[in-house]
């Protein structure tokens, strides 16, 4: 595991089929670049993401987890993403107790926003990398 860690943070993302996963497909088609450590799991709706999945990913060694869905009001399942927002907010509170809230992100990316998807995940990657590098120095 140590050997792998030097290659940069590993991020597991949950992306809803209708918006963010489409955006990630589009980012690929447009040959946009983002770090290899970022890997996406397709879920039907962001509300399918059980907080247990996030915890599982962290336990299995992920440095960060993001949950991404359609913009509020655009959810294919009408208001699934509102439930996601509440759930992730609660989980984030829990993460805060361990000073880990930077490792969990929630964001909205529509199917057309490939650029936004890449920006969001790259920013998250950079933040985690900086945080870890700072930790190493200390």
């Amino acid at each position: 595991m140590e050997e792998n860690r030097d290659k940069g943070p590993e991020i597991v993302g949950f992306a809803c089929s209708y918006c963010t996963f489409k955006a990630s497909e589009m980012a690929g088609s447009l040959r946009m670049k983002y770090p290899e450590g970022i890997r996406v799991i397709q879920v039907p709706c962001s509300s399918r993401v059980d907080p247990a999945f996030v915890i599982k990913a962290i336990l299995e060694g992920a440095d960060g987890v993001f949950v991404a869905g359609c913009h509020p009001g655009d959810c294919h399942f009408i208001k699934g993403n509102f439930f996601t927002r509440r759930k992730i907010a609660a989980l984030k509170e829990m993460f805060k107790a361990f000073s880990m809230d930077g490792r969990l992100k929630l964001f909205w990316v529509s199917a057309a926003e490939a650029r936004r998807f890449v920006d969001k995940v790259t920013t998250m990657y950079k933040e985690l990398k900086e945080e870890r590098d700072a930790g190493k120095k200390n």
């Binding site: 209708y18 983002y34 799991i41 709706c45 509300s47 247990a52 299995e60």
Partner: protein, 557 residues
């Protein structure tokens, strides 16, 4: 588990940044993997044959195809499994092109990422259970939103093929913007005649219902049985439509957004659309000086419209020719960035207009200042690198197309997506240019980006044809990704019932457990994530599938 892994090179697309050979060798060592191979194009006939033969020879019960994104070729591989006698829901597609080879350049890291992605897919697939696709009946009717030229051509095509059509138009008259056009290049026909013929034929057909001054206010259901609410003045009407063609059109760009053009403050500054609509410019002298501005509201980052509107160059050429025809001694100068006379014959037309004496100056106009003697134009000639200032009697702005502000509401209602410019987004820019991400909803005409009349008619017909193909079958398969309750585990806490958006979960008072109404379930999985006793499961996205996918993604390879 007897799994087969098929890794696609996609020509050079995957191979150039992923060491596919190493990946396929790696998987041969994984327990449960019977066959692991790579091939240049898995979607080609020989590639398909490899899969079919492997299934037969090794008696495979899981197929993992690592290639392009799952939304491409989805049905192709499903059918392949069906033909080979394997349940199509035991197929796993792993995207190593859009999510791996195209987004990273490092071969080592990409190869490792591909291994993990496929491993995740394999782990996930190991839990897959066979599912049966549900067959639903499809209502042979269609809703066409928008009565412009593309909406009319779509409606006409569908109606001729015997599909019941509901045409909804927000204005009092059908025909959209085309009905104002006086001379459609290159045929020279009047727009009113073109749409007039269509409207006449449409009104003569018995299976068409036209709603003018109407709008769609409610939309629910799924492909084959969309429930649509149409409001016409104060009356509401509910209809069932099998599919939808969205042809809501565009709005002409409003040059008043650019104050430096002084549009609307002086009669001598007009747009091409004003002229088409028959607004007469002020009286001109016998030898008028006329300026024509290209790219007004197009390719302009400053106002957030970076796209080319595609029609305005030909419009500008047409108006220049018209003026030269009416006033042979006139001085006509066009200010352009590039002349993109893209339709067939456009370049020749551009040459012909130049030969008639129309001058072309490269460099957009920075400022229009009306004065007593004439309208003064200032800007920079980018070919000579010098500043110009000239006076004209008439300035014509060749305006572009902007997305309709109503698109936002419509997109939210139909759950389809807009692009950054507010036009409707197609499912795939090259392979599915007429589809939206939602099954049975198609887009037509300039609501999905600027198009000329000919393209709009074609787009409308193409969308109608694709929809007709789906409706005419009379049935459709729906993914059986719906929730299922394990009554033994259910504690009857009813949290899922409260959460369910579709109200598909009902509480059984006698047994004290919940159950899912299959027809109503949308398959979002919210209940699955809500249930504290893990009693409710979304088929196709079970906890074990996603849980092990996470493990696969993070495993050391």
């Amino acid at each position: 588990m007897r799994a087969g892994i098929f890794i696609c090179h996609c020509g050079h697309n995957i191979k150039h940044t992923v060491d596919v050979r190493r990946v396929s060798e790696y998987f041969r060592k994984i327990p449960g993997v019977i066959v692991s191979t790579d091939y240049a194009f898995v979607c080609s006939e020989p590639g398909q044959d490899i899969i079919v033969e492997s299934i037969k020879r090794y008696n495979l019960d899981r197929v993992v195809i690592a290639s392009c994104t799952p939304s491409l070729h989805g049905d192709l591989f499903k059918d392949l499994l069906k033909k080979s006698g394997v349940n199509p829901f035991l197929l796993r597609r792993v995207s190593i092109r859009e999510h791996c080879s195209w987004v990273g350049d490092d071969v080592e890291l990409n190869t490792e990422k591909a291994k993990r992605l496929i491993l995740a897919g394999l782990y996930s697939a190991s839990h897959y259970i066979p599912l049966e696709e549900k067959m639903v009946e499809v209502e042979k009717s269609a809703l066409v939103i928008g009565g412009g030229v593309s909406g009319l051509s779509a409606a006409l095509f569908l109606a001729r093929m015997g599909i019941k059509v509901y045409l909804v138009e927000k204005e009092a008259e059908l025909g959209g913007h085309v009905r104002f056009l006086g001379n459609i290049w290159p045929s020279g026909r009047k727009g009113r005649d073109i749409v007039g013929e269509m409207i006449e034929e449409l009104k003569g057909l018995t299976n068409v219902e036209i709603f003018t001054e109407a709008e769609v206010t409610g939309f629910e259901g799924f492909f084959g049985n969309y429930g649509v609410t149409i409001r016409q003045s104060d009356r509401e009407r509910k209809v069932i439509a099998g599919g939808v063609v969205v042809a809501s059109g565009f709005v002409p760009f409003d040059p008043a957004i650019k104050p430096e053009l002084n549009y609307g403050k002086d009669q001598r500054i007009v747009t091409t659309f004003d002229l088409e609509r028959g607004i007469e410019p002020p009286d001109l002298p016998d030898r008028p000086r006329v300026a024509i501005l290209h790219c007004v509201g197009s390719r302009d980052e400053a106002i957030g419209k970076s796209y080319c509107s595609r029609v305005c160059c030909v419009n500008a050429l047409k108006v220049a020719e018209t003026i030269k025809g009416r006033y042979p001694d006139s001085y006509v100068e066009s200010f352009y960035m590039d002349v993109r006379a893209h339709p067939r014959g456009g370049e020749e037309y551009f040459e012909a207009v130049q030969e008639r004496g129309v001058l072309f100056t490269r460099g957009n106009v920075g400022e229009i200042v009306p004065s007593e003697s004439g309208v003064i134009l200032r800007g920079e000639d980018t070919l000579f690198g010098e500043v110009y200032e000239r006076e004209f009697d008439l300035v014509i702005l060749s305006i572009g197309m902007a997305s309709s502000p109503g698109n936002r509401t419509l997109a939210q209602l139909l759950k389809i997506t807009l692009d950054k410019d507010g036009f409707f987004l197609e499912a795939h820019i090259k392979l599915r240019p007429y589809d939206t991400a939602v099954k049975g909803i198609f887009i037509a005409g300039s609501c999905s980006g600027p198009k000329d009349t000919e393209e709009s008619i074609n787009h409308g017909r193409a969308s109608a044809l694709k929809l007709f193909g789906m409706l005419n079958l009379g049935y459709a398969f729906v993914d059986p990704f719906i929730s299922w309750v394990d009554p033994k585990r259910c504690s009857g806490c009813r949290q899922c019932e409260e959460a369910c958006i579709a109200k598909a979960i009902k509480f059984d008072e006698a047994k004290r457990v919940v159950k899912v109404e299959e027809a109503a379930c949308m398959g979002c999985g919210l209940c699955n994530a809500t249930c504290p006793s893990s009693a409710i499961t979304l088929k196709g996205y079970m906890d074990s599938f996603i849980g092990d996918e996470i493990s696969g993604l993070l495993e050391v390879v």
